[in-house]
Assembly symmetry: D2
Homo-oligomer: 242 residues x 4
Amino acid sequence: MSTAIRTTVWNEYRHEKDARHPAHTIYPEGIHEAIAAGLREHPNLEVRTATLDEPDQGLPPGVLESTDVLIWWGHMAHDDVPDDLVARVQQRVLEGMGLVVLHSGHYSKIFRLLMGTTCALKWREGEDRERIWVVEPGHPIAEGLGEYIDVGHEEMYGERFDIPAPETLVLVSWFTGGEVFRSGCCYTRGSGKIFYFRPGHESFPTYFNPEVRRVIANAVRWAAPVKGPVPVFGETAPLPVG
Amino acid sequence: MSTAIRTTVWNEYRHEKDARHPAHTIYPEGIHEAIAAGLREHPNLEVRTATLDEPDQGLPPGVLESTDVLIWWGHMAHDDVPDDLVARVQQRVLEGMGLVVLHSGHYSKIFRLLMGTTCALKWREGEDRERIWVVEPGHPIAEGLGEYIDVGHEEMYGERFDIPAPETLVLVSWFTGGEVFRSGCCYTRGSGKIFYFRPGHESFPTYFNPEVRRVIANAVRWAAPVKGPVPVFGETAPLPVG
Amino acid sequence: MSTAIRTTVWNEYRHEKDARHPAHTIYPEGIHEAIAAGLREHPNLEVRTATLDEPDQGLPPGVLESTDVLIWWGHMAHDDVPDDLVARVQQRVLEGMGLVVLHSGHYSKIFRLLMGTTCALKWREGEDRERIWVVEPGHPIAEGLGEYIDVGHEEMYGERFDIPAPETLVLVSWFTGGEVFRSGCCYTRGSGKIFYFRPGHESFPTYFNPEVRRVIANAVRWAAPVKGPVPVFGETAPLPVG
Amino acid sequence: MSTAIRTTVWNEYRHEKDARHPAHTIYPEGIHEAIAAGLREHPNLEVRTATLDEPDQGLPPGVLESTDVLIWWGHMAHDDVPDDLVARVQQRVLEGMGLVVLHSGHYSKIFRLLMGTTCALKWREGEDRERIWVVEPGHPIAEGLGEYIDVGHEEMYGERFDIPAPETLVLVSWFTGGEVFRSGCCYTRGSGKIFYFRPGHESFPTYFNPEVRRVIANAVRWAAPVKGPVPVFGETAPLPVG
């Protein structure tokens, strides 16, 4: 219980390098650093970052092997993530690594692979305000939250969100423009836990919001691996029952 | 497949009898008759009504025994429904009878008994407009619908709705005042299927809305009993395996 | 309701062509014909078959487009199914086509793609007898069944079965050798319904068992497409709420 | 994380007092003491016991208020638990207290109330051996376990088990006599988590089995309350969205 959760914040880190993009000003050190700073406020999380343009896309085998929970932010460069890296991440999730997929990461190769669907949705960059309601107040990811989070100005994501029904639906968003969205969705794949969390458009300072940060930290703790049985697959002999 | 589904629409039928209440004008023959009229547009549904102030609260054993799907609307008179009737309805649900609980029926004795929770929620009689989004477009209860239903002026119900997480969440409501609500919720209890459907405040003509009527008719078909195995409980001998 | 469900039974059809294999004797016309014969006993099912060694692997676009429910049996030739066909089947499922995956189809490309996991399991070709228990007696797939099905001599499949937890678990198998298995598993992906059903090893006459046939027919009816909303994805304007 | 989880082990404690009953010899200090001894091996659990024949049935308001997780064992005396105590336990669960229901506790008033069903099942006191398979190896309740637990000689419980489908099914039992059982079942009611765990007949020394003890300790940790939002129910004003 007391061992630190080794958390890797992965970000494609492209918008923020473009001096003409709002993300350049809002997240001068990159979205990953804002997320990592939020996590570093919490005890028992050991936090590092990784980005797409680093060697091995920031995730060489050694890093992935020593990651308990991986956070994923991507948007414009999903196709630049090589398929073999996606396969390695999937393998690690099935082995038990947690995965927290943020915002536009809904369209990442890894999320779509683990869901088996298109993960498509409605969206709008407009004047929308977002309010996120907690519908499961007893879930570990709701710890420390109020009944809702007012995120303020954000990109709108609306239903139908083409995902398998979440095993647990923790959060539902309301947008001024008339849409709703399943914003906090828990899944299990193999021995690994996955949490999709909606907010975090690159043009807004959402990852400085303390309640958004709290959700991400809670999700990391919820998704941390459990040392359960390692299933043995394949041909097997009858086991005498004692 | 071709046998008619014997559907009983139960209504407490109190608001509508009060000449000073808007329901008196909107539903002069009672909410049950408006719902029944909507169902009678559909083939293969055999529809009757029952109300609280009839003998046996409208549900003597013979009626309950010959009901495939029971629709329940109640609000101000939940406590006037006797506990033994509630126990008989529960028993019929466990045996396979479908149950469609509407709007303020969330607080009925029978719904709370089947859920095991308070079924409490937030509410407001104000200026709210309601839009209901379909989040599971492949579900039988979504048949014939568009992506959303604009219900118009309605009472607001907001989360946290204190129910067990639905087995399938089909519909989610958006309200102008800033709230969301899990509006179309599927459950199984015993061999019976239960659908909770949110809209239908007595002061609005919601049950004349063709899409609301469509949801109720779809729910009746979805909740109709299946002739599956009748479980045998209690002490049992070992069964030689062939 | 009264329109026939257009059902296509797809089989790799390889074991049965091998004169030395037990399947050659048990299923002289192929497993697909045994399954199709079982379905043809039911009204409202329009049944055709398709096999891997036919042109377009039996599933040219026209066939897939006019299939409401696809049944899938494969074992030794999963890799001979081209990826573009798998992508087309996935697309059709997301649009609403039902998919019933049988026995060793757990390892088919299409099932693994839709699940997002390895779908690995334990197995044994031995002396096992299988009994399948109905754990959801009110589910449409349990219609007409008793409390359990004694399948007799079958290949054993045992847990851990590396699938996402089913949305509904209808059937659980017991094997003489000491194993259990989640044998009847319901999923939704996009607008399509998926049912995995365990029994049906090629060396046993399982698809002549009337109760096994009944499960497959029930599954076809349960998985038939619903004419629900067709979601529109992508950028969207705010919708004035009426 | 570091605060101790205040755990109360409640037992009806009747069989064990009967000198002619095997439980008298197997559990001379009562089943509750065997369970408590298993829990006391784990750090961060603060364990006390309570029994039916103590004042206030062992659960005066002060005890219940200061309990984070309540463990419940009952069998022959379910009816001696007063309804108002059951109502208080339900209220505490809805507020967030965890509840671990063991073996014949499936028929306790509190479990049936929280489930909304009869919780009936098949049973047999015979020669059965039980093997419990882990079907969700990544779940916190599976921590430290192997792929299965051989419990040895136990009372048989068989499907159909008349419960709502568990939110997460962690364990499935196999019995020599030909039955299966959903043996480890997770639920949420209100803000509280509930775990039903099958083994533990009073005539067998099951609660001395280290793996059974491990499951119970894991369940206590999983079910511990989360300091999430406290929902406010009832009439509410519109909330301006920032």
